[in-house]
Symmetry: C2
C-alpha cells in the first residue's frame, strides 16, 4: 500500500493529540501517587507501585488504541501491552498495511520509581516503514505544578516527524516547533570519532551471568567505547560521555536532537523504536545493526554503504544527523558510516534476534 | 561560627534567585547556539562549542559570585571555575566560616552536546556543613518555547533545602513547592535490596586502562550491582535499573526525590555535591563513603551506625529517604545502613582521595 493512501498530516495530528493525552494522564497518575490527600491516598495505599504502573500503562494504551480506532478504523495496531499478551512466540507482525506501533509507556522502571525519563511513543508504518512518529516526554516540562493545576497546558518535550517533511521538537504541545537537529547546520562527525562523542547505552533486562552472554558482551562493549585511546587492547574509544536513561525511545529522540552522537543497544522491540526511527531519520540520522556484519574485518577500510536496521530486528545502532565535512570530501552519510564502523570495531555482537527477520 | 549568625531564609532566597538567573542564562545561551538567525549565528560560527560553553560557564559563575558578594560580602566563596584556576594542589578550603560552594554548570559535557541533564548548584556551608542547597535544572522544563519568548517564567526543576526545614521541588521558580521525597511516606527499603533498586553511576573522566585503575574498579562495581542474583561470584545485585546522567548533582537531586535509590560515585568535588547533600539529607537520605571501610568483612553482619562522608572526600554513596519498615523493627536509618553494606559487599573501592581529608 502506497503512502499516499494515508493522510499523514491527519495521522500526525491525531497521534500528537493522543500522545499528549496519554502522557498527561501518566503525569496525573504519577502526581496522584505523590499527593497524600483524600481519595488519592486511598488508591496509593491499596495498590503497590507496580500495580499502579501496570494500570496506568494499560489505561494509556487504551486511550491511544481507542483514539486511533476511531480515526483510522481500517489500520492495524501493535501495542506493547496488547502484543505482550497475545504473542508468545514474539512473531513480528508489522506488515505492509498501515500499522500503528505504540508504546504507551516507555521507561516503565523509571515510571515506577518516578524517575523522569519516561515517554509515550506512537509510530505509523506504511509498507513496513515508519512514516509518522510522535514521542511525548511529560516529565521534561513543568512537571510539578501546584496541586489542582493539573489542567495546565502540556509543556513536556514533544518530538514529531512525517516522512519526507522533517522532524521537530516542541515545548507547547506542538503549537510552536523547532526543527531537528537542534544545531543547524549539524556539526560534522569528528575525524577521530568515537572520541568526543556522547554515547547512550542501556543495561537492559538480560542480566544472566554466563560466559559470552549479553550482559558480558554489553559491558565489554561499553568499556571499550569508554576506555582511553590505545587502551582495551587498542579498542579504547574515549567517548566524551556515557549516558543511560532507561528509555530506548528517548535515547533515539536525543540522537535526533543531536545531543547523543551514538546509541548502541540490543534487546528492545519495534514499539520502543518505531516513532524514534521515523524522527531520527527525518532529522538526518541513521539506524543500522548494532552488531558488526558477518565477516567484518576491522583492519580493512570500506566505504560500502551500510543498510538500515530492520524495524523489528531488536539490534540498533543509531548515529546522529551531521553535515558534510568542511575539511574533506566526506559526505554526511559517509561520515555516519565511518562512525558505525568505528563502533563495530569496538563492540561485541549481542545475541538478540527475531523469528522471521 | 554558629548557624544562627546567618539568616538562612535570606540565604535561600538569594541563592534561588541566582540559580534561576544563571540557569536561564545558560538556557538562553543554548538557544542562541541553536537559532541560526542574525547576530546569534555570528557568535555560533566564531567560536566552537567548547569555547561557547566555557564562556557560558564562566559568565554563570560571575552572575552567582557577584550576586552573593552583594548580599553576603563577608562570606567565603568556592566556585568550580575560580577554584580550578587557583588551586593546583586540590587543597580542600571550605572552613568553618559561612562559605558558598558553587558549580555554575554541572554537566558541562551535556551542555556542550545540548543534552538536558545540566544544572546550576549553589550550596552554603556553615561550620563545614551544608545548611542551604539550591539546584536548578533549566532543561527539565518548557525548554523550547517559541523564538522570542525566552522571557517566559522559569519552568525548570528547582530543588531547594534549608537545614532542619525540609527539602522541596518546584516547577515555577519556587512560588509553589512540593516536599521531598515525592512519595510520602517514603517507601521502605526493600528487604532484598539492592534488588529492585534504581542505581545511578557515572563513568567519569578517568578512563585509564590500568589494572586496578578506577575505570576497571567502577566497571566491575557497576557489573556486580547489575548482574543477576547468584551471578558475579555471588556479588550480583540485580538492581532494577542503572542510570547515568553525566551530572553528579542531578543524581543526588533524584536520590532526594526518591526516584534513585542508590548513587555510587568517586571522583567528583564539593561543588558537585554540596547543594545536593543538603537537599538529600533534608529529604531524609544519607551520604556515606562509596568505599567499604578498611577491614570491612561482608560476611559479618553489623548494625554499627555508618558515618557521613566528608564533603570534600570525593567518594560518595547516597541512599534515598525511606520509612521505618512496617514488617520488622528496622528503622529507616538502619535500613539505609543495611543497603550501604549491601552495596559495599559488591563494589571495588576507588582510589580518589583528598589532601587533608
Amino acid at each position: 500500500m502506497a503512502n499516499t493512501t494515508v493522510d499523514l498530516d491527519h495521522a500526525l495530528a491525531v497521534a500528537t493529540d493522543l500522545a499528549i493525552q496519554a502522557g498527561e494522564q501518566l503525569l496525573t497518575r504519577a502526581r496522584e501517587r505523590i499527593t497524600p490527600s483524600g481519595a488519592q491516598l486511598t488508591i496509593a495505599q491499596k495498590l503497590n507501585a507496580v500495580d499502579l504502573v501496570t494500570e496506568a500503562d494499560e489505561d494509556a494504551e487504551k486511550v491511544i488504541r481507542n483514539g486511533l480506532k476511531k480515526h483510522f478504523p481500517d489500520h492495524a495496531f501493535v501495542g506493547e501491552e496488547s502484543y505482550g499478551q497475545g504473542m508468545p512466540n514474539n512473531e513480528y507482525i508489522v506488515g505492509d498495511e498501515p500499522t500503528w506501533v505504540v508504546d504507551p509507556l516507555d521507561g516503565t522502571v523509571n515510571y515506577i520509581h518516578l524517575f523522569p525519563t519516561v515517554c509515550v511513543s506512537i509510530g505509523l508504518c506504511v509498507g513496513g516503514v515508519p512514516v509518522v512518529g510522535v514521542i511525548y516526554a511529560p516529565f521534561f516540562g513543568a512537571a510539578y505544578p501546584p496541586d489542582g493545576s493539573a489542567s495546565a497546558a502540556p509543556s513536556g518535550h514533544l518530538f514529531t516527524a512525517i516522512q519526507g517533511r522533517g522532524a521537530f521538537i516542541s515545548s507547547d504541545g506542538g503549537k510552536s516547533r523547532r526543527a531537528l537537529p537542534l544545531q543547524s547546520p549539524a556539526p560534522p562527525i569528528p575525524p577521530n570519532a568515537p572520541k568526543g562523542c556522547t554515547l547512550a547505552v542501556e543495561w537492559g533486562k538480560d542480566r544472566r551471568d554466563v560466559p559470552g552472554g549479553n550482559l558480558e558482551r554489553k559491558v565489554n562493549s561499553f568499556w571499550n567505547l569508554a576506555g582511553e585511546i590505545g587502551g582495551r587492547n587498542g579498542k579504547g574509544g574515549m567517548v566524551h560521555g556515557v549516558r543511560s536513561l532507561g528509555s530506548a525511545t528517548l535515547d533515539l529522540a536525543f540522537v535526533a536532537t543531536g545531543a547523543i552522537d551514538i546509541f548502541w543497544e540490543g534487546g528492545c522491540w519495534e514499539w520502543d523504536v518505531c516513532a524514534g526511527i521515523c524522527i531520527l531519520v527525518e532529522a538526518g540520522g541513521i539506524v543500522v545493526d548494532c552488531n558488526p556484519p558477518e565477516g567484518f574485518d576491522p583492519s580493512v577500510s570500506s566505504t560500502t554503504p551500510i543498510p538500515a536496521a530492520p524495524l523489528g530486528g531488536r539490534r540498533y545502532l543509531a548515529i546522529r544527523p551531521c553535515s558534510d565535512s568542511p575539511e574533506s570530501s566526506e559526505t554526511a552519510r559517509e561520515a555516519q558510516d565511518r562512525l558505525v564502523r568505528e563502533v563495530w570495531k569496538r563492540v561485541e555482537g549481542v545475541t538478540y534476534s527475531r523469528p522471521g527477520l
